[in-house]
């Protein structure tokens, strides 16, 4: 069965989505990821969607769900590499992924994760006014 690989890098889990997501694949990923977070006691999850060209409302909701679940399991989630077209689509669908942290690329996402895990940034992920 088709699966999306989850790589462990130190205290973080790295998920790169490089195939077209279909609903079953997303559900499998959700199962696998929560399992792995618990098993590896990961502090953060980084999801790279830079090769994802198509999203629908289901995919948008799945990303939000994964982030919420990880949060409950005490792991931060950062979604990185979203394409402009995908971002516009999600906004037009009314899904602005409120609870999900985002970064432009894997590098920035990693440093954001590290910062957040060390608790340098305030609770809602925004810098002080």
């Amino acid at each position: 069965m088709e699966r999306i690989p989850i790589l462990k890098m130190g205290a973080y889990l790295l998920v790169t989505i490089q195939v077209d997501m279909h609903d079953q694949l997303a559900l499998t990923l959700q199962d696998d990821l929560t399992d792995r977070i618990v098993k590896t006691r990961a502090k953060g999850v980084l999801i790279d969607i830079s090769s994802l060209e198509l999203v629908d409302s289901f995919m948008g909701r799945m990303l939000g769900n994964i982030a919420a679940m990880s949060h409950i399991l005490d792991a931060e989630t950062v979604v990185v590499g979203m394409r402009p077209a995908v971002a516009i689509t999600l906004v037009e669908l009314g899904l602005s992924l409120k609870g999900v942290k985002t970064a432009l690329n894997v590098e920035k996402g990693m440093s954001l994760l590290e910062e957040r895990v060390r608790g340098r940034v305030d609770g809602n992920g925004r810098f002080e006014r």
Binding site: M82, P84, S96, L104
Partner: protein
């Protein structure tokens, strides 16, 4: 007109050809006394040239014996003259009515000629008058069509220019973009602005974008919604947005309308927003030497 009446235009054309000079003089007099000419938008010499050009092309086309339609080759010269004329009139600020009058005012001198030449044959006179009248009407309407098309082209070109002109994304600092918005935000502009900003975020790797709305005249719920959409899209790409340049009136309107800006950072001026941006990227600005 059918094949049977194909000889009729030839007869008219013969009459018109013989009287071309008189026709031109009378027609010019007629046009020169019209209000459109008196407004001074067109010179007499230019009008004379246009009239002469049109009249000779018109008579040549009539001699071919073909009826007017928009794609017959016999009338291509007339169409070119009218096309050129309506375009230049559109830019000179003539109304569509005044432009059409150029063609319609030919009727009176032509009818006068026909009456003179065919006074002994009332049946022929009526028939010829009807034929030429229909023809001139067609030409007039054709001119109006062209005029309108010219105006529409001007409008769509201006719209396009406005669209390109008003959505620049500028790089203020390493990782800091600014988007100075000028003019009202509607859906199509928001789309362009959003796409431009997101493309720039990708290509410059910026993590902060400042949207400056100093040049946006009014902010209503729709504009606010468009702004928030842009902010949300940029956030999905991993860039934070600051909205700056909020005038006192706009701040009042936003609150009165009950628009919820959420946790978007807002600043009164671009300078304040830039200061935050520098602070966030760990930069400070210091004076090197004390002020003299």
């Amino acid at each position: 007109m059918t094949e049977g009446s194909a000889t009729a235009p030839t007869r008219i054309s013969e009459i018109l050809r013989q009287n071309e000079q008189t026709l031109l003089t009378e027609w010019l007099q007629h046009q020169l006394s019209a209000k459109a000419f008196r407004s001074g938008r067109i010179k007499e010499s230019e009008l004379r040239e246009q009239s002469l050009e049109f009249l000779s092309a018109f008579i040549r086309a009539l001699q071919s014996g073909k009826t007017f339609d928009s794609d017959s080759s016999a009338w291509s010269e007339v169409r070119d003259v009218l096309g050129h004329l309506s375009r230049s009139r559109a830019t000179q600020g003539f109304t569509s009515g005044e432009t059409a009058t150029f063609v319609f005012s030919l009727k009176q001198p032509v009818f006068a000629r026909l009456r003179q030449e065919l006074s002994r044959d009332p049946a022929a006179l009526a028939e010829e008058t009807w034929a030429i009248s229909t023809l001139i009407d067609q030409l007039g309407l054709y001119t109006v069509d062209l005029y309108q098309k010219g105006r529409e082209e001007v409008i769509s070109r201006q719209q396009q220019e406005l669209m390109e002109l008003s959505t620049p994304v500028v790089k203020l600092w390493e990782g800091v973009l600014a988007l100075p918005l000028i003019g009202t935000l509607d859906s199509s502009r928001t789309q362009v602005v959003m796409e431009n900003l997101l493309e720039q975020i990708v290509s410059t790797g910026a993590s902060l974008a400042i949207i400056d709305i100093t040049g946006v005249p009014t902010v209503d719920t729709l504009v606010a919604q468009h702004l928030l959409k842009t902010v949300a899209a940029a956030r999905l790409m991993g860039a934070d947005c600051i909205i700056s340049g909020i005038r006192p009136q706009i701040a009042q309107t936003i609150v009165h309308l009950g628009v919820e800006l959420g946790n978007v950072i807002t600043k009164a001026s671009l300078a304040d927003a830039f200061a935050i941006a520098l602070e966030r990227s760990g930069m400070t600005v210091t004076r090197l030497a004390p002020r003299a």
